[in-house]
């Protein structure tokens, strides 16, 4: 058969046999989306990008809670009369077709008046008529065309976000003032002699002063605040000499023009602030579509279906759930609270909470914990605890989540600035005392000149530009860092701890091997057909591994929850499931997951499931082992122990059956021994460990979906590059150190002029931008070279 891909979503469509308009589709869902688009003259969607779509998911009832006005109210950005404005986060936004179709929403829904996509943030801002179109039908339509919005408890709390644009204002103001002051300084640079300048210089000078005032008091205010905070906690951070430099520049310049002894240094002052802010802005690269601060709130739904005593269903907010309530949990829904299962068959995926990949079957009367995902139809539960008191949510009350790692860490720049500030003050004092003896009239001039010229603009720019640029380069390589200081911390790591499930193993695939008597062709056919009917993840995995067989209708089929499946076809009987279920009592102790088979009551053998490790794992560990202490810490049982010891270098510590708290404690213990720990994890169960570690990296198969709070997110496909990324961060530190050397060189030249009392404004005006620009050029070139090595 010719290999065909779905016209809508690009998945394999060779087996489905669905065609429409001579175009192949992988499923009816995709076909329906195509139909919707072609009826509404929106088929251009497919011209902009080939196969841009996503298969719409079954959402029956999932968004019922949007009919609850109290919930919907919280989601609106704006509401007045008919008009509603809502911003929805849609993870699927990925190409120009997505932008096009979402901005043409009004062709599908006439009541939508406008929709605007923000590609970087993956959001769409929709304005619509709230009286004619309900929020639920809007969301339903988006789901139907494959753009399911992601609405979680987090949206509920944040509501209307305030965007902080102050850095852009400050940068704009400083740049504006810098340009203008430079312009006004020109006559005096050129030293036009004569009456003309004598007559007008005061106007020029006071204009420069006027432009500098907002720069000093508004644009540069962060430096004063930070310096004050630093001094109060007895730290000489880099902002102390900067704030000192800015104030001395401003005071001396003002004094000079008032007393008419000189032009002042307003050009250098505004230029300095402009360059500093430029560095700050550059470093502030954020990935708008990623969130590094996620806690359970971003996983939890906003609304849930409550069943009242007389059997009526209604949607309520998750926070309104009370002890004793009856809730209806649908397929694929998350259980938001600790509860007891009342009716229905529950199969819970706790991988968010424990990292354990296998689902657990529960029967009526069993306790269910918050954070589990129901995978098997509808269940009814009775609530035991409210949201905040549930087992999972309590993990977040641990103090680690309140510490801001960035503040607790002394950056390289601040370390150097301590010595630097002391040295500058010493030089200033020495030069001043020399001049006091030699020529007292120049002493004050020299003192201020030293402080001005030593203002560590170039030093302050080294780290932001190096780290900011590397941050961008790593982002392109799918390693997303929360902020620039993570690079510095990463360079200091000496211990690396990995989680197992989902981190070093691939999430989806697992290796399956068969042991036992060979199955005949009929038996295999029967097995395949039996598995077809089951929704159990193990059945599905096994089903996709077996060869193709013709589809037959089984005479009898029965699924025993938590045990296995039983089926008959003609005279053959088959049992698939646990060892005891198929009648194989001589159970060998094997901790690996296995599915046993028996036909006509004869035991045949078992399929064993092994974890499939990520590509390049063994090699990565071998290279890492040379420089770092390694450990693996897993919430799973030790079934994979032998496999892992074979795969990994000797002396790698392996710990199994670790609860989320244990992981956190283990890292704390290592840190108390002086280790700098890098934790690599993936699930919510690692959240504590990720927060406790010096650097926490979350591995993610799809960076747009879930990842716990962390310092960095690494795309799973780049897992084997981890070593290179750490090495790059070390090289970045070297680049910063070299640019420090470069800026010291400029400082020495400047200090020569300052100490000898010859610092003219024009020298400062040349030296300061020159040193800043050369640092920017040096670090940019160096980091780009570094990035080129990182393929």
């Amino acid at each position: 058969m010719k290999h065909k891909t779905c016209f809508h979503c690009g998945l394999d469509a060779s087996k489905s046999g669905i065609t429409f308009d001579d175009k192949p589709f992988c499923c009816n869902g995709c076909k329906t989306v195509y139909e919707i688009f072609s009826i509404n003259d929106l088929s251009c969607y497919y011209d902009l990008q080939a196969a841009p779509g996503a298969t719409p998911k079954e959402i029956e009832g999932k968004y019922d809670f949007l009919n609850n006005d109290a919930i919907a109210e919280k989601l609106f950005e704006f509401k007045d009369g008919d008009v509603r404005i809502i911003t929805l986060y849609i993870p699927h936004i990925h190409c120009s077709s997505c932008i096009w179709i979402l901005e043409n929403l009004n062709k599908l829904l006439p009541n939508v008046s406008s929709s605007l996509v923000n590609f970087g943030e993956k959001t769409v801002r929709i304005t619509y008529n709230g009286n004619k179109l309900s929020l639920k039908s809007l969301v339903d339509l988006l789901c139907r065309i494959g753009y399911e919005p992601y609405i979680s408890l987090e949206n509920y709390e944040s509501g209307k976000k305030k965007i902080d644009r102050s850095i852009i204002y400050k940068l704009g103001l400083a740049g504006f003032a810098f340009g203008y002051v430079m312009f006004l300084s020109f006559p005096e640079y050129l030293q036009v002699e004569g009456i003309w300048l004598e007559k007008y210089k005061h106007v020029f000078r006071w204009l420069m002063f006027t432009f500098s005032v907002p720069v000093v008091f508004y644009a540069a205010q962060d430096y004063f605040i930070s310096a004050y905070k630093g001094l109060r906690s007895k730290l000489l951070n880099i902002d102390v000499p900067i704030a000192l430099g800015i104030s001395v520049l401003f005071i001396r310049s003002t004094a000079e023009i008032t007393l008419d002894i000189g032009t002042g240094f307003f050009d250098s002052l505004t230029g300095l602030v402009f360059f500093l802010l430029l560095g700050k802005y550059f470093q502030q690269k954020t990935y708008a579509f990623l969130s590094f601060e996620r806690d359970y709130k971003s996983y939890f739904p906003i609304g849930i279906t409550k069943i009242s005593t007389n059997g009526e269903e209604s949607s309520i907010q998750v926070y309104d759930i009370e002890k004793g309530d009856r809730l209806l949990i649908r397929n694929e829904e998350l259980i938001p609270v600790d509860c007891i299962l009342m009716t229905g068959r529950a199969r819970i995926d706790y991988s968010f909470v424990t990292g354990e990949s296998e689902t657990v079957s529960k029967k009526s009367g069993d306790k269910l914990f918050a954070g589990g995902k129901q995978l098997n139809g509808v269940i009814e539960v009775e609530v035991l605890k409210s949201v905040e008191q549930s087992y999972l949510t309590q993990l977040w009350s641990n103090d680690v989540f309140k510490i801001n790692k960035e503040n607790a860490f002394t950056t390289l720049t601040n370390k150097i600035s301590k010595h630097f500030t002391i040295a500058v003050l010493l030089i200033a004092a020495m030069a001043t005392s020399f001049w006091l003896v030699y020529d007292a009239s120049k002493a004050l001039n020299v003192f201020t000149a030293v402080l001005i010229i030593a203002c560590p603009c170039a030093i302050a720019l080294s780290a932001p530009f190096t780290l900011g640029n590397l941050l961008r380069i790593l982002g392109k390589k799918k390693f997303y860092l929360k902020n620039a200081s993570v690079i510095e911390q990463l360079a200091k790591i000496n211990t690396i701890i990995f989680d197992k499930t989902g981190t070093i193993t691939a999430n989806k695939s697992s290796k399956i091997t068969y042991e036992g008597e060979r199955l005949s062709k009929e038996e295999e056919e029967l097995l395949k057909n039996t598995l077809r009917g089951s929704n159990h993840p193990l059945s599905r995995a096994l089903y996709s591994m077996l060869d193709e067989h013709k589809i037959v209708t089984l005479n009898d089929y029965k699924e025993h929850l938590g045990k296995g499946i039983e089926a008959t076809f003609n005279t053959h009987k088959i049992k698939v499931g646990s060892a005891t279920f198929v009648g194989h009592d001589t159970l060998q102790a094997s901790t690996n997951t296995a599915v046993h088979i028996s036909t006509n009551n004869n035991y045949k053998g078992k399929f064993t499931f092994y974890n499939d490790y990520r590509k390049g794992l063994s090699k990565l560990f071998k290279t890492l082992k040379q420089d770092y202490d390694l450990a693996i810490i897993s919430g799973d049982n030790d079934g994979e122990k032998d496999n892992l010891t074979k795969l990994l270098p000797t002396k790698t510590k392996l710990l199994f059956n670790q609860k989320p708290d244990d992981k956190l404690e283990y890292i704390k213990y290592h840190q108390s021994e002086g280790a700098k720990v890098l934790m690599v994890g993936d699930g919510l169960n690692d959240a504590g460990a990720l927060a406790q570690s010096d650097v926490g990296i979350a591995i993610s198969e799809n960076v747009n979906v879930f990842s716990p709070a962390c310092d960095a997110i690494l795309d799973a496909s780049k897992f084997n590059h981890l070593y290179n990324y750490i090495k790059a961060s070390k090289s970045a530190i070297k680049i910063i150190k070299w640019s420090f050397v470069l800026s010291f060189f400029y400082n020495i030249i400047g200090l020569y002029f300052a100490v000898t009392g010859q610092l003219a404004p024009v020298i400062a005006a040349i030296l300061m931008p020159l040193s800043s620009i050369s640092i920017v050029v040096f670090t940019t070139i160096a980091t780009n070279l570094l990035g080129r090595k990182l393929t």
């Binding site: 003259d41 704009g172 204009l207």
Partner: protein, 54 residues
């Protein structure tokens, strides 16, 4: 009164106009999304084109 004052006044006025325009642009959120516009401007009115073909 020298012409230099007039020139200075004009230059400051022009500069301030641009500066205020910049502030308004930032305030309206024009700098929040620096990517989507580059794609959007390349869209034609595809829907109309489609209809005329039929």
């Amino acid at each position: 009164m020298s012409v230099i004052y007039v020139l200075l006044a004009i230059s400051i006025a022009v500069a301030l106009v641009f500066f205020i325009a910049f502030i308004i642009a930032v305030k309206k959120g024009q700098y929040d999304d620096s990517y989507t516009h580059s794609v959007r401007m390349l869209f034609e009115d595809e829907i109309i084109k489609e209809k005329s073909k039929k």
